[in-house]
Amino acid sequence: MPQGTSDRRHASGSPLRGALLALLVNEGEPLSGYRLATLVERRLGPAWRVTRQSVYGALERLVEDGLVSSAAKVTFQGVAEGQRVYSATDRASAALEAWMESPATREPMRVELQARIALSRAHDAPHLLRALDAYERDCFEMLRRSSETEVPMGSWVGLAMNLTRVAVDESLQADLRWIALARRWIEEFLAERSAQQGR
């Protein structure tokens, strides 16, 4: 397989892979997994719920694919430390370009509660109403967390981070509307059925 095709393939995959690759190429210096996790969480925002474990997993795969190299961190005195640092390899820039150029597709809807509702029976309605309440609280918590970090516009990074935050806002707004609608439909259905049984 030609090298370019291979890099194009490597660039696709999880957005976390792309984000880590971009950080390593753009920062231009070796970074620890901890530092990368902090940076990627800041840039993507709390709604992504990036875990340290997922960052280390993605870094391992990037190393396996030859886009990132890892080495023991060396102190000023030339002594190797226990902590590992990661750097972009020569192939990383081309892979990053390929990721940025690749067409974006709509990710499939995989909200667990939607699947639960899709497969539910009428007698599950009270459980679903409670689940909707919990899901709504989760949306509000996500809104609260995404409001904690504010970045002024004016720079490209500021613009990009604000666009990411607005995407979360819009998605939460749509979720809240869906929750309100689902709650209303289920409550109306239950009221109608209870009225029919009363007749």
């Binding site: 709504e136 509000f140 809104l143 806002d169 939460l172 309100a180 409550e187």
Partner: protein, 246 residues
């Protein structure tokens, strides 16, 4: 005791041959310095809730308490007095100045009905305009103000009475997002500096995203986001813990 307390409110409106229940057994407590955000779809009862909380409308059932006084059992005159000094202010986004007077005169207007002269009212009106960052438009005729500037003047017109509770109904989504963000930050800072309690009801989440307490309004009920429900301990672990205790 909370500064503003809504207790078991029910409000119905006639609809066709029946009625529609807009608020159903709804309760809410608001303390001094509180910042509450209420999210709700269109026609979910946000305006009704705020109007009842402000004493502009009476509920069919339940009571509204402000500073230890039951507003729902007061005479209309006493309730109206609460809209004035140190009471409850209600800001609606559809504020339209009736006359094309300078902004400062619009802000001074409520004080004239309290018996002040225009000369006396100008100073507190200036202060209120300064508080909302609108002093520079004090002499601009209201018709020449932008939507964002007009909202600030309307806010100053309420603050001139130094309310202890500010209720904001559906803050307008301003054409420029940065104007909106500044307005919402201003609303938040008003509470922080003076103990003013702020309650914002909105269909859009942007104005309420930084509220200390977030809740949703739907089917006549308020659902607070900070109520985590009852945690049921995992039985085996609880039993093991009990066994390990001396």
């Amino acid at each position: 005791m909370s500064l503003l307390s809504l207790e078991h409110l029910t409000k119905r409106f006639p609809e066709g041959r029946g009625h529609t229940t807009v608020l159903e057994d709804l309760s809410l407590q608001v303390d001094a310095g509180d910042f509450v955000g209420i999210w709700g779809m269109r026609r979910s009862g946000k305006t009704t809730l705020l109007r009842v909380a402000a004493g502009r409308e009476l509920p069919d059932q339940g009571s509204v308490w402000f500073d230890g006084h039951e507003m729902t059992s007061m005479s209309p005159d006493r309730r109206a007095a609460l809209q004035r000094r140190n009471g409850i202010g209600l800001l609606s986004s559809d504020w339209r100045p009736e006359r094309n007077n300078p902004a400062v005169e619009h802000v001074a207007l409520p004080l004239l009905s309290d018996g002040m002269s225009l000369h006396e009212a100008r100073h507190p009106a200036w202060k209120a305009l300064e508080r909302v960052g609108a002093a520079q438009w004090a002499h601009v005729p209201a018709a020449r103000l932008s939507q964002s500037e007009r909202i600030r003047v309307a806010l100053a017109q309420i603050l001139v009475h130094e309310p202890r509770v500010l209720l904001v109904d559906e803050p307008a989504v301003l054409p420029r997002p940065s104007d909106g963000a500044e307005l919402f930050d201003l609303l938040r800072s008003l509470g922080g500096s003076s103990g003013l309690a702020v309650v914002i009801a909105s269909e859009d989440i942007a104005p309420i995203r930084k509220a200390r307490r977030l809740m949703s309004l739907g089917s006549g009920k308020l659902r607070p986001s900070d109520e985590r429900g009852t945690l049921v301990p995992f039985p085996e672990r609880t039993a093991a813990r009990k066994r390990s205790q001396p």
